[in-house]
Structure formats: structure tokens, C-alpha cells
């Protein structure tokens, strides 16, 4: 055994010159890993990075299918009691064993003050450790998709958190507390963080005692944030990083043409859409007085049919988008495949407007972010011009996201008449969208992001049923019905799913997942 080890060490030394370096994955993203604390920020990139270090009870496969992770199986004991069986023999990076107690602790931490992942474990009244490897979750009402967001509800070690005073979530509002978990990590995942320099680089290495079978051949993963698009692309082209994302649409060709790099594109799960204020009796920003034209379905349909999605796809998005008739993307549970967009037809739009009493059209303000989604402002400019063709005089107001969201969301009092927004359901399930964007706004928090105030009691009733229906087929039928009603009402104008664009060095093999999360376990570097 010793001889074998010595021979191996010799071989490794000989190969060290090239091989050791080749198995370092260097990648760049436009933003930073905000925190290593897995409960502090519900943001795709930060959670995605942490997902290589920490794990949830479940994980998601290459096509987002639910797979066992820290839990090996689960069953519904009674309508409001889920039982999860935990994986045995799992250890955290510090060597502590993983048990049911850690799950209970992680739940408590995730719902504590300052946590931003509360919604992922919402509707649960109690978490009970039955024995060391069995946990029961008791819910307020039946919840068939309780685990839908749990691949990003990460499990932490109770002992480690207690030892380092990190039982609370990193909380900015508390100026005295410096949270240990903000700069240090101790998960059960395939990688562990060795160097954390926020804003400069974060380095991770494989965790030798990981319970799973590593599919990667990496020895080190170095992450650098590169905010400037041109520099990020240049770093990839010059070989300073092995993988970089996002790649701006106009640079995809350059990355493709360059020797040694390629671009990977695919539809993202986020749907971009236009919303219309249907709640107020008079629009805040419009030439129409005394009445709200958007309460008339004909006007909403006219707006819909005046927009040429093919032109937006070809010109604005350079082919990198998928026009959508639905408010959810393919890949989201309950995506209504059969739904078709109302055809682009400016003549029909003009006729509809005339019929509704606006033969001369009217003016309205369109609120738009200019740094949030891919080419968001350009999309709005195109929409402005297209609506102009049918007599609608659109005043475009494009702003930076911090100001924009403060204006059009609840805290700004929904200060808009017509707006552009994008949404990815965190649970990858239609219910999330129906509840947040489609349901009538109420005090319980339903419809918080229904900025236009669309309201249809039948859809609301269906949404409530969808939440608690445990029969999957019946549930799917209800989701389809709800989407059809929204489509018939023209409650929103869905536009498209934008494309993901990753730039990858030719000697790197990886899997691009539609939720834009980068899983290092699926990366191999070839020589």
C-alpha cells in the first residue's frame, strides 16, 4: 500500500507541471457572491454558488428534475405531514456528522429574522426529528410540492453555527454583529471554500469525504467577479478564465469565432412580460381621463396584437429569445404547451381600439428598467414604436433597476400604468406565478407582484385549489385552466424567455442548466 502511494505520488509530481494547473477551473460572472451565508440572500447567482458548497434535502438534475440529496426518500404520511428519510454517513466539511437535528436547526435558522429564504420553507408549522435520520414536516394545509424549492434551502451544521455564534442569519440591519457564516462556510457539498476575498476571488477545492460520487475532475475552482462586459469577454478570449457568463448578445459571435472558445446558449426560465394597470379607475399616466382604458379587454388585446414578437426576437434579441404565449417558461411545472400567442395584427389592433372608443388612440407612459434584463430598454423602445403604428403614443420612462423597482412594486404604491417585468418562479412551479403575479392583491400577501391589479375571482379560486390538490393530474388540469383564463382575459402581455449565454473554453465540458446555476460537479477539463 505504501509503495503504491509512493508510486502514485511520484506520478503526480511528474505530471504536476501541466495536469495540476489544467484541473483548476477559473470562472467569471458579472456579479459577486454576496455572502457565503446560505440564508441571507435569495439571489440566483449567490444561491447557485453556495449550492456547490452546501446542499439541500433534494437537488435538481441537468433537466431540473428532483433528485435525492441529503434526503434519500420521502412520503406523505397524512395530507399535512411529510416524512423525509435522511442519508446516513454524511459529514460536514468540518467532520461533524449530518443528522435530523441539523435539519431542524436549518429550518429554524431559515425562518428567523433577517432570513431571505423564508418563502422556501413557508406554510410549515412544525419540523419534528423523529429519530436521527427521519424528519417530519407538518404543514398548515396540504402541500403537494413542499420540497419544490428545497434544492436551495441549504442545511447547516448546528454545532458549527453555535460554536461560531452564527445561529442567526447575517443581518445588515444589526451593525454590531459580524456573522462568521458570512465569510466562512461549512456545508456537506462536493466542494469546500478555502479562500474568501469578497469582490476579488473565492477559491474552493473538492471535499474528499463527500458522500456522492464526484463526476468532475477538478482540483480547484477559482471564481472572479468581472463586472465589465468587454473585460469579461476579453478574459475568456485571452484564456485568463475557462468559463465566463453572461456573454452579451453582441459578443456571442466573437466567442464562437475565436479559436479555443465556444458559446453555449439556451432558453432561460425567466419570462419577460408587459403589465397593464387594470385596478385604478383612471390611469396615473395617460391622456384618457375619467376612465381606465385597460379595464377594457379590447384595449388590452389591441396592445397585445400590435406587438411584433418576431421582429423583437430577430432584431432586438439577435435571435436569442423564445417568444412566449404563457407567463411561465417551458421547463416550469404546468407550462401550457397548447397556448398560442394572439397573432401580430396591427389592423386588428386599430379596429379593436376604435371599437373600444379610441379611434385616435391615446397616450400612456411605459415604465421600463434599463439594466436588469437582457436588452430591456431596447425591447421597450421597440414596443413604443410598434404601439405608435396603431396610434398609441407611448412615453417611455427607462430607469436603473434600483429606482425602477422602488417605483413600480408594492413599496412604491404600484406607481405605474404600463410596465415591463421579468419573473422566474423559485419553485419551478406555476403556482408561484399564479400566487404572486395573477392572484388578486390581498393583505395575506397574495398578488404582491400583481402590479397591474389584474383580478379574476375564478382564477383566485383555482389558485387556492392548486395549492392543496395532492393529485398530480387533477392539479395539472387546474393549472392549465388557470393559464387559459388568464390568456382569454389578456391579463398580461407575455413577451419572451430570454436566452442564457455562457462562454466556455473548448477543453471544458459542462452542463448548462436552464435555471442559470453553474454546477461544478458536472465539469470536466480535458487536456
Amino acid at each position: 500500500m505504501k509503495l503504491k502511494a509512493a508510486l502514485l505520488a511520484g506520478a503526480v509530481l511528474l505530471a504536476a507541471g501541466t495536469a495540476a494547473q489544467a484541473e483548476t477551473l477559473r470562472f467569471a460572472f458579472q456579479g459577486q457572491v454576496s455572502s457565503l451565508d446560505p440564508h441571507s440572500l435569495n439571489e440566483t447567482f449567490t444561491l447557485g454558488y453556495q449550492g456547490n458548497i452546501y446542499e439541500g434535502l433534494i437537488s435538481r438534475g441537468p433537466n431540473l428534475e428532483i433528485e435525492p440529496a441529503l434526503a434519500t426518500s420521502w412520503e406523505l404520511m397524512e395530507p399535512t405531514r411529510w416524512r423525509f428519510h435522511l442519508r446516513e454517513g454524511v459529514t460536514f466539511h468540518n467532520g461533524n456528522p449530518f443528522t435530523a437535528d441539523d435539519v431542524v436547526f436549518s429550518y429554524e435558522r431559515a425562518i428567523s429574522e433577517g432570513s431571505d429564504v423564508r418563502t422556501k420553507v413557508g406554510g410549515i408549522t412544525e419540523v419534528v426529528a423523529v429519530d436521527d435520520y427521519t424528519v417530519d414536516f407538518i404543514t398548515e394545509s396540504p402541500n403537494p410540492i413542499i420540497m419544490a424549492e428545497w434544492e436551495t434551502w441549504y442545511i447547516m451544521d448546528r454545532e458549527w453555527c453555535e460554536e461560531h455564534g452564527a445561529t442567526g442569519v447575517t443581518n445588515v440591519a444589526d451593525p454590531d454583529a459580524e456573522n462568521y457564516a458570512n465569510l466562512h462556510a461549512n456545508g456537506t457539498g462536493p466542494f469546500m471554500v478555502t479562500v474568501r476575498e469578497p469582490g476579488v476571488r473565492t477559491v474552493a477545492v473538492p471535499f474528499a469525504d463527500w458522500w456522492g460520487e464526484p463526476q468532475h475532475n477538478l482540483t480547484e475552482v477559482v471564481f472572479t467577479p468581472i463586472a465589465e462586459d468587454a473585460t469579461r469577454v476579453a478574459a475568456l478570449l485571452a484564456g485568463d478564465v475557462d468559463m465566463a457568463y453572461p456573454i452579451p448578445l453582441q459578443d456571442i459571435e466573437r466567442v464562437e469565432d475565436n479559436d479555443g472558445t465556444r458559446a453555449l446558449t439556451g432558453p432561460e426560465l425567466r419570462t419577460i412580460f408587459l403589465g397593464l394597470d387594470q385596478a385604478r379607475d383612471e390611469l396615473l399616466y395617460s391622456s384618457v381621463e375619467g376612465t381606465n382604458p385597460f379595464q377594457d379587454r379590447r384595449v388590452r388585446l389591441a396592445f397585445y396584437q400590435a406587438i411584433d414578437m418576431n421582429a423583437i426576437q430577430q432584431v432586438v434579441m439577435r435571435g436569442q429569445s423564445t417568444p412566449s404565449a404563457a407567463m411561465v417558461a417551458p421547463g416550469i411545472n404546468g407550462f401550457p404547451e397548447e397556448l398560442e400567442r394572439y397573432p401580430y395584427d396591427p389592423e386588428a389592433a386599430r379596429a379593436l381600439l376604435a371599437e373600444a372608443g379610441y379611434p385616435e388612440g391615446f397616450s400612456v407612459r411605459l415604465n421600463c428598467p434599463n439594466d436588469r434584463y437582457v436588452n430591456d430598454e431596447d425591447i421597450c423602445i421597440a414596443v413604443t414604436n410598434m404601439l405608435g403604428q396603431v396610434g398609441i403614443d407611448v412615453e417611455l420612462m427607462a430607469e436603473t433597476k434600483s429606482i425602477y423597482f422602488g417605483r413600480i412594486l408594492a413599496q412604491g404604491g404600484y406607481d405605474t400604468s404600463f410596465y415591463l417585468l421579468g419573473w422566474t418562479p423559485g419553485s419551478f412551479d406555476s403556482y408561484n406565478v399564479l400566487y404572486n403575479l395573477v392572484h388578486t392583491r390581498n393583505e395575506d400577501g397574495a398578488g404582491t407582484f400583481n402590479n397591474g391589479g389584474y383580478s379574476n375571482p375564478e382564477v383566485d379560486a383555482l389558485t387556492a385549489q392548486i395549492l392543496s390538490e395532492t393529485d398530480q393530474d387533477a392539479r395539472a388540469a387546474m393549472i392549465a385552466e388557470a393559464w387559459q383564463m388568464l390568456h382569454d382575459d389578456v391579463g398580461y402581455i407575455p413577451l419572451h424567455q430570454q436566452a442564457l449565454a455562457w462562454g466556455v473554453s473548448d477543453n471544458v465540458e459542462l452542463i448548462q442548466r436552464a435555471d442559470n446555476e453553474f454546477v461544478w460537479n458536472w465539469v470536466t477539463i480535458n487536456q
Binding site: E197, G199, A238, G426
Partner: protein, 331 residues
Amino acid sequence: MAAFIVRRLIQATLVMLVVALIAFLLFNYVGDPINNMVGQDTTAVEREALREQLGLNDPFYIQFGRFVEHILEGNFGRSYRQSRPVEDMIADYLPATLELAVVSAILALVFGVAMGVYTALRRYSAFSQVLMTVSLIGVSLPTFLIGIILIQVFAVELHWLPPQGRVGGEDDLVRLGWWTTGLLSLEGWRRIILPAITLGMFQMTLIMRLVRAEMLEVLRTDFIKFARARGLTDRAVHFGHALRNTMVPVITITGLQFGTIIAFAIITERVFNWPGVGQMFLDAVIHVDIPVMAAYLVLIAMVFVVVNLAVDILYFVVDPRLRVERSTTGH
């Protein structure tokens, strides 16, 4: 002298207070930080609670008063984005900016003076004409463009130098206590060259033109003629007399420009992904990280004030006439 410095320090404090005040006035227009601190699913009630905890609902003068009070206690607050004390962040990012600024200032000074002297002495040579033309480009091209061009040519096409700076690996950075330096390794130098040239380009051309103009002026004066008449060598005349007498304005400009270099490093740092305070500031603006923005602006104001003070003191040292004048007017 001591009274002068004390007076300047009082002025400096006032300047920094005013900068902080203006900054706080502006923060009302940069947007809502809350959206950057929570995910899309966070409820309106939770958002409001966080806003209340952070004191964002208070009128700006109360927020400003709190900020000043905390600074006096040596507390710059915590970054909304990174949840770390701002002073820790500045300590992390400042070495990168200072190294970049010093290297580019030295580059600008050395090459600027050398080229200035050369173009003044050999006014009509072809090489001088080339230098003058190139320097025009240096003054007129925006930093951003110079950076992108350098990256494209030397990193992407030629593969000579890396496209981004200071990645912080073991092969480029060396730790000296809390200071990290990239100047003690080959890789570190490879990574600083392009950004330093980009950042120093404008200053270099400025110094070159200044030195040239001053040299031409001085070379026409009587004492140079007398020096030549005394039979001194060209070398002694040019460097011992002419160049020395052009140094006062050059020192002023270089000193004042050093503050500018640090402040304008923002663009260069962004283009080369240089992890300095400029990047920190831009990131803070994007995420409406008010404590970081406020601390950065006060820091930059302080740099300008300190540099100005240093330049004033240098005057005393370099030019004896100023010393006499100031002390007699007693102002």
C-alpha cells in the same frame, strides 16, 4: 508652519463634511437599496421592516447626523451588500488602488519628464514630432477606450499580457501584514502594466507638454545664456539649471494630479477588473450600498485634501522665496 498646517486641517475637515452632506443629498436619488438586499419573493411587510431597521425612513438630515456621529466614533457602518464593516472593505481594496496609482504616477513622471526634455531640446527632430502627435492622442482619447484597445491588442490578439488585473492568486500577490502587494512578483507586474499605462496616459502627456513648454521658456532666459558663456557643458546647463528651474510647476501638477489619478482610477479599474476602491464604489452605486458610497466619497475628499496639503508643504521646501513671503505677510 504649524499654524498653517492646523488651519489647513480645519479647512480639510470642513471640506469633507460638505462632501458628505452633498453625497447624502444625492443618495435620495439613487434608488431604493432594499430591492438589492432581498430576493423577489420577499413580502412587502418584510421589506418595510428592513427599511425601518436601517433607518431609511428617517429624513436625510437625521441619517446624515447619524453618519457623522458614527464616523467620529470611527465607525463607517456596514455594507448593505456584503454585510461587512466598510472600513474592512476599504482596507481590502485600498492597497490595489494605491499601488496602481503610484505605479502609473511614476510611469507618467519618468516618461513625461524624459519626453518633455527631449522634445524641448530637439524641437525639430522627426522623433519629437512623432511624440507630440502621439501625445495628442493620449490627451484626447477617453481612458475607457485606451483600456479596451490595449486589452484587445496585447491580451486577446498577441497574448503577451493578461487582460485583467490582480486576480489575487498565490503567483501574483504577496501578503505583508494587512497589505497585499502585486509588486513583488513577475505575475503581479505583468498584471499591472496595462492598467498603469492606461491610467497614467493622460498625466504623462500633460507632464510632457508642461516640461517642454517650461524648458523652452527657461532656455531663453539670461541665466542660461550666462551659464553657457561660463563654458558649462550642455549637460550641466540642460539638467543642472534648466530642468531644475522647471520643477516647481511640474511638482504642483504631479501632486494635484495624484489625487485625480486615485479618483479617476474608477474607469481604469472597471475596464481591467482591478479590485480597488473604484470598483468597490461602482459596485456600491449599482446596488445602492449607501454606507460604502458615503465612505468612498469622504475618502476621496480626504485624499485630495492631503495631497493639496503635501503640495503646499513641498513649495516651502523647493522654493525659498515662498517661505519668506508667507512669513512676512503672516497670513
